[in-house]
């Protein structure tokens, strides 16, 4: 099974009072192992909504979704949680690190949630943190880290538990140009090294430099891939 993500005819509307506003009008996207896709589009085009749906966070109005070959029944919250736990790693624009936890604990906690506990969790967290080059800063709290370092901790957290699908929402938006490039380079290396699929939602044209494909959403439809 080569496809990590299969999203077909995904439809989503938001209800505002009695009016339903369609956001996604039938978006299909397939990601294979080791493939990096940049998903672009203007603000409000529906790209983050699409990311939320394929990340099993948001329930679509229609369409089919399969992750790691497993058909996802969106009406079963337990299956959604289990899929997030097992197969998906998120990287957010705002990093979303736990401010009370050190860099190491942020990664370790994600492992705990995924069922890895005790010394093994600590060892694995240390390993992943070293992979992103932050082994020395493991005891630092997020407030003591730079934006680039925070994003690297967030990437380490996303990698914890070895998910097959990485989903990143504007990962370079809060970073300066140079640090953004470093983070992207790291993304590419880590995705390719472990054969993970990586979907990056972005406005940043630099992401194209690491992407195998670029997809574009416009008015709720996937209008072009290249």
């Amino acid at each position: 099974m080569n496809n990590v993500l299969e999203a077909r005819d995904i439809v989503k509307s938001y209800q505002e009072g009695t009016v339903a506003t369609p956001v996604l009008k039938g978006v299909s996207l397939i990601l294979k192992r080791g493939e990096i896709v940049s998903l672009e589009g203007r603000s409000g085009s529906g790209k983050t909504t699409f990311l939320s749906i394929v990340g099993c966070i948001l329930t679509p109005g229609g369409g089919r979704l399969a992750i790691d070959g497993q058909e996802i029944d969106m009406k079963r919250p337990r299956q959604l949680t289990a899929t997030r736990k097992k197969s998906i790693g998120f990287v957010f624009q705002q990093f979303n690190l736990f401010p009370a936890l050190s860099a190491l604990e942020n990664v370790e906690y994600a492992l705990n949630i995924k069922g890895v506990k005790g010394r093994e969790a600590r060892r694995k967290a240390q390993e992943v943190l070293e992979t992103v080059g932050l082994g020395e800063r493991r005891n630092a709290l997020p407030r003591d880290l730079s934006g680039g370092q925070k994003q690297r901790v967030a990437i380490a957290r996303a990698l914890a538990g070895n998910p097959s699908l990485l989903l990143a929402d504007e990962p370079t938006a809060n970073l300066d140009s140079q640090v953004g490039e470093q983070v992207l380079g790291m993304f590419r290396d880590l995705a390719k090294r472990d054969n993970r699929a990586l979907l990056i939602v972005t406005h940043d044209p630099k992401v194209r430099s690491i992407a195998d494909r670029v997809a574009k959403i416009e008015d709720g439809l996937l209008v072009g891939e290249g």
Binding site: N96, L101, N112, I113
Partner: protein
């Protein structure tokens, strides 16, 4: 296992301190109110509980131990004649006037018996020999009297009902709900002090059953022989004396109201701080869901924070109450909190905090998980 609940709690020390103070305030208030209440109630029955009697023969419809009518002392012989009665004695409880060295007149509550030593009354003797009370115009006075009457020493003299009596002993913890100081004297001496009212009369008959005697049978026999008296067990009589003060003074209502208000304030403070904390960390809880956690994981975090607040808040509150207890003791009051009340308050603190967390649970269950993507 990373303890996100504890670390988050300690990360925001001020908020945590406010939460703790809310719980501690409620616990302190409960302990102090309950303690004062129990302490005062204890005074209402302390002599009954310590006096080593199985049954009390009481003037009909007497409401509490302090305000007894009198009846003929010869009834004692009838009681002593009943099979199963090991021993019985008359006991006078009567208010009299004491003239202080300053010239002021104060009321004392006199307990008078022929032989105190057989009845464990008074139960804490600090100075003097109880047997000596029978030898002349002597009294024992409780140390608590110093608060109202000023300092006194054994071998001092005081005028009671205009008669000079020598203090030959000092007791401790013999108190009355009325706060009137207790004085112990010989039975015949007490009668002679107010012969018009007490000559040939007594306030109570106290009796001890023989081993194996049937209490109810003895009681019904006393009732048959003394139809114009009540007969109560020690527990019944203590309870009745306490209830009198609870019902007639509104003390119970006051206690319940204050405890209710304390608990209410505690609930409001804890609910508010937990809820604000939950709202401030809502993105983090969204992140917990995004990385594979469920509502149960978040409930565990908030629930654990509530439990930590309950346990530490209880400890802080108990400590404060202990401090208040030391303080009020200097004022002649006593905080009495029985172990069952401590356990109940602890359980109450936990229930209070979990109830306060319930609103946060409700909010978390409705988090829009897409919150993690918002900037």
């Amino acid at each position: 296992m990373v303890d996100l609940a504890l670390k988050t709690l300690l990360h925001d020390k001020w908020r945590f301190a406010i939460t703790l103070s809310g719980v501690a305030f409620a616990v302190t208030l409960v302990f102090v109110q309950l303690g004062l209440f129990m302490g005062l109630l204890g005074n209402a029955s302390v002599t009954i509980r310590h006096l080593d009697a199985d049954l009390w023969v009481i003037p009909k419809n007497t409401a509490n131990v302090d305000f007894a009518n009198t009846f003929p002392e010869a009834y004692l012989q009838r009681v002593r004649s009943i099979p199963g009665v090991a021993r019985a004695d008359n006991l006078i409880v009567y208010f009299m006037f004491m003239t202080l060295p300053s010239g002021a007149r104060e009321t004392v509550e006199v307990y008078a018996m022929e032989d105190f030593t057989r009845w464990n009354l008074p139960w804490h003797v600090e100075e003097g020999k109880l047997e000596d009370l029978r030898r002349g115009p002597y009294i024992f006075m409780d140390g608590s009297a110093e608060k109202r009457f000023g300092p006194f020493a054994v071998s001092d003299y005081r005028e009671v009902q205009d008669r000079r009596l020598k203090i030959i002993g000092r007791t401790r913890d013999a108190l009355s709900f009325t706060t009137t100081p207790l004085v112990f004297m010989d039975y015949r001496l007490a009668q002679s002090m107010n012969s018009q009212m007490l000559n040939g009369r007594t306030s109570y008959i106290v009796l001890k059953l023989a081993p194996g005697a049937d209490l109810e049978r003895v009681r019904s026999e006393i009732r048959r022989l003394l139809p114009y008296n009540d007969v109560r067990t020690r527990q019944e009589w203590a309870q009745r004396s306490e209830n009198y003060w609870v019902e007639s003074t509104g003390l119970g209502l006051n206690m319940y109201l204050t405890v209710f208000l304390g608990v209410l304030v505690g609930v409001v403070v804890v609910t508010q701080t937990l809820y604000t904390s939950t709202m401030e960390h809502i993105r983090e809880y969204g992140t917990v869901k995004a990385i594979g956690g469920g509502n149960a994981d978040i409930y565990r975090i908030i629930g654990k924070q509530a439990l930590i607040a309950a346990v530490l808040g209880f400890a802080a509150g108990a400590l404060q109450a202990y401090g208040v207890g030391m303080l009020v003791e200097k004022l002649g009051l006593r905080l009495t909190v029985p172990p069952i009340a401590i356990a109940a308050t602890f359980a109450g603190a936990i229930v209070l905090c979990l109830a306060a967390a319930a609103i946060s649970f409700y909010k978390v269950a409705r988090i829009d998980p897409a919150i993690v993507f918002r900037s």
